[in-house]
């Protein structure tokens, strides 16, 4: 949030000079380094941690990151436009509570689930309207709706837990694809990731999101419907958070108002780790997926190695800071060198 207009974004390097020959063909982008870190950590964990490189464990890992991955997809697009949505975990909780309440009321799950997704879209629509029509800053709005939606979740379900869902749903949520250890939700995430990836990187709408994030005023002058685009992104985020809520409820077999409390910060951390700039205008979906998997891998490996969870917390935080600090310092050092070289040429 410091100085959105003058901040030194990590600029692309001036040329291939000073890069190791081995990496000459690889573009020096954040996605690449996150993917590299993911690869290294998977290799290291496979070699060093007993039981990491098994199909069963891979399945656990994917189930573990599923909710974060589902929400991180639309969140990437939101942050690319320079906005943020901190209410996602509360949307997840409210969806879960409503799901439990409707199930208690005797509705069929086949009916409840679409209703829950619709509810999520409406909650997202409310965020979107407050940001685009009332023109309120999304950071403040979604801190407000974070409290509001979580509060409504308690109003709906209190502190009860609804856990008598049929096994066909709870077992089905974590079921693996036949003949493989891979849970089917991995396919769902991959499909949705491909859809969001194409939307962001290969359509005019997606490209316009980068323009909006770089300079919303310029984008508006260029004829991009800035507010409408943002509105739809908030609706999509709400719907995806609701999908994550349905999945979460079935995965853990329990509908509670306090489900996934605090998950919003994990999602934002994964997105930022994946190379998306908090100022908007910069980011790529593959990087975010790598970021989500990187956090999941480290978490999983440390747990298998019986490293206490506090180490994990520290590692998560350090990773997030280092992933932003290092490129920034490198960019500044480059800038400094460039300035010193060009200084003798003339004043100023």
């Amino acid at each position: 949030m410091t100085e959105p207009h003058v901040s030194a974004r990590p600029a692309p390097p001036p040329g291939p000079a000073r890069r190791p020959a081995l990496l000459a063909g690889v573009p020096a982008r954040r996605e690449t380094s996150v993917a590299g870190a993911l690869l290294v950590s998977v290799l290291a964990a496979s070699l060093l941690v007993d039981g990491f490189a098994t199909g069963r464990n891979a399945g656990f890992l994917i189930l573990d990151v599923a909710a974060v991955a589902l929400i991180a997809l639309p969140m990437t697009l939101v942050i690319v436009t320079g906005e943020i949505d901190l209410s996602v975990a509360s949307t997840l909780g409210l969806t879960s509570a409503v799901l439990g309440r409707l199930w208690l009321a005797g509705l069929a799950l086949e009916l409840i689930v679409p209703l829950c997704l619709l509810l999520g879209a409406l909650l997202g629509l409310m965020n979107g309207l407050l940001v685009t029509v009332a023109r309120l800053p999304s950071l403040a709005v979604t801190i407000g709706t974070m409290a509001l939606y979580r509060g409504l979740a308690y109003v709906v379900l209190g502190d009860r837990a609804v856990a008598d869902f049929p096994f066909s749903w709870t077992g089905g949520a974590v079921a693996a694809l036949p003949g493989t250890p891979v849970p089917w939700v991995a396919l769902l995430i991959a499909g949705l990731a491909a859809a969001f990836g194409v939307l962001l990187h290969a359509t005019a709408f997606g490209r316009s999101l980068f323009a909006i994030g770089s300079n919303a005023d310029a984008a508006a002058f260029a004829g991009i419907p800035v507010l409408r685009a943002k509105l739809w992104l908030f609706v999509a985020t709400g719907a995806m958070a609701a999908l994550a809520g349905v999945f979460w409820t079935m995965q853990y077999g329990s509908a509670r108002a306090d489900n996934a409390t605090g998950l919003e910060l994990s999602v934002v951390a994964a997105v930022l780790l994946g190379g998306v700039s908090i100022f908007g205008g910069v980011g790529a979906l593959p990087g975010v997926l790598a970021g989500v998997l990187l956090l999941g891998t480290i978490r999983n490996a440390l747990q298998l190695a019986d490293v206490p969870s506090d180490t994990l917390t520290v590692v998560t935080g350090l990773l997030l800071i280092v992933s932003v600090v290092v490129p920034n310092l490198l960019a500044r050092a480059r800038e400094h060198r460039r300035r010193r070289r060009s200084a003798p040429a003339g004043p100023g």
Binding site: M1, T2, E3, P4, H5, V6, S7, G82, L130, A134, R135, L136, P137, L139, A140, V141, I143, G144, T145, M146, A147, L148, Y149, R150, G151, L152, Y154, V155, G158, D159, N215, A216, D217, A220, T261, G262, L265, V268, A269, L272, I278, F279, P308, S309, D310, T311, T313, V314, V315, T316, G317, L318, L319, L320, I321, V324, V325, N328, L329, R332
Partner: protein, 364 residues
């Protein structure tokens, strides 16, 4: 604004516009205060016990921590930054204070308290250095240090818990006793609010924090040492979070590594409800303090009014939305006033103040 040359009477009109803008901001804080007064009066009308000495004492005690944290957060938010790590800093400092008593049983209380504050200031220094030297957005840095500080806290505690029996009786009494019926922590919080408010309003460096938040680039160009001021804001905020940790230790007596967990967004919410603009440049610590008291009072008021306690958080959420909506309305009004004052006083061109305000809101 000083570049444009209007007619001779232009400065007068402009001063009137600025006064109108200041009045609008004053209205904002009055609004929160009024909401608080209405809440307290309404609740007391239904149940007079709400204003009993014991109940008021509990209210003040409950608001103390959030109040101190909101004051520090205001310093940071005003410069167009944010500190999400305050909950973790509070936890770390509370545990540090407690374990000092465990390790050195005879330690004088002021030394332990000072150590807690210093731990907080150290955390603030880490945040501020990363923001100003590495030029990383504060939201990202403090989200990272939120995890790091909490992790260090867990590491240190290693599942242990510090109990009231481990701390000197006099220290725990500080959390409960008071002067003339007002609990001591509440007095500390009031002193913090007054001192910080006075500093922000009256000192050059305090005013410069607002200039930085309004337009960091312009502040830099006009010779304000932006990095030093922002760093100082983070350090002071950290120190205040450390102080809140010491107060937490004194009040609750039982410390594990989860003290202050999840407090950060409540703190930001208190500041926002109190009229501190999330994108910097405006707001006062008085507003933030009243916002903190309002947020904590709602909980007890709803309980007294026999509203289902599950409604509490939803009401807080609604309040935040109403507060930022009101900010938007007041900002639009004072921008219009400024524009009118500019148009009347000078060359008839639309004033720059309104235009810039509009632009910043639409991009941020």
């Amino acid at each position: 604004m000083s570049v444009r040359t209007g007619g001779p009477e232009a400065p007068v009109h402009r001063a009137r516009g600025a006064r109108a803008a200041r009045r609008a901001r004053g209205i904002r804080e009055l609004g929160v205060l009024l909401a608080l007064a209405l809440l307290v009066a309404g609740t007391a009308l239904v149940n007079p016990a709400f204003l009993s000495a014991q109940s008021v004492r509990d209210l003040l005690l409950g608001a103390t921590l959030l109040c101190v944290l909101a004051v520090g957060q205001t310093l940071v938010i005003v410069t167009r930054n944010v500190d999400l790590s305050v909950g973790s800093v509070l936890g770390l400092s509370a545990f540090a204070t407690g374990s000092l008593f465990v390790t050195f049983p005879g330690l004088p209380i002021p030394v332990a308290a000072l150590a807690g504050v210093l731990v907080g200031a150290g955390c603030g220094l880490v945040n501020g250095t990363l923001v100003t030297v590495a030029r990383v957005p504060a939201l990202v840095v403090t989200l990272g240090t939120l995890y790091v500080f909490r992790g260090v806290d867990h590491w240190w505690a290693a599942g242990r818990q510090i109990n009231a029996a481990d701390m000197p009786r006099e220290f725990l009494d500080l959390g409960r006793l008071g002067l003339a019926g007002i609990p001591l922590p509440a007095l500390v919080a009031a002193a913090v609010v007054l001192a910080t408010g006075w500093y922000l309003a009256s000192y050059r460096s305090g005013r410069e924090l607002y200039a930085i938040g309004s337009d960091p680039a312009a502040a830099r160009l006009s010779g304000i040492p932006v990095d030093r001021r922002v760093l100082a804001a983070f350090v002071v905020n950290g120190a205040l979070a450390g102080l809140a940790g010491v107060l937490y230790a004194a009040r609750f007596g039982t410390l594990d590594a989860n003290a202050g967990l999840g407090l950060e967004l409540q703190v930001v919410a208190a500041a926002v409800v109190g009229g501190v603009a999330i994108f910097g440049g405006s707001g006062t610590v008085f507003g933030a303090a009243v916002g903190a008291v309002l947020l904590t009072t709602i909980g007890s008021a709803l309980a007294v009014l026999r509203v289902d306690p599950f409604w509490q958080q939803a009401v807080v959420g609604l309040l935040i939305l109403v507060a930022i909506g009101m900010d938007r309305l007041l900002a639009a009004r004072s921008a219009r006033r400024l524009r009118v004052a500019d148009a009347v006083g000078g060359d008839g061109r639309p004033g720059p103040a309104g235009g810039r305000g509009e632009q910043r809101r639409s991009t941020s």
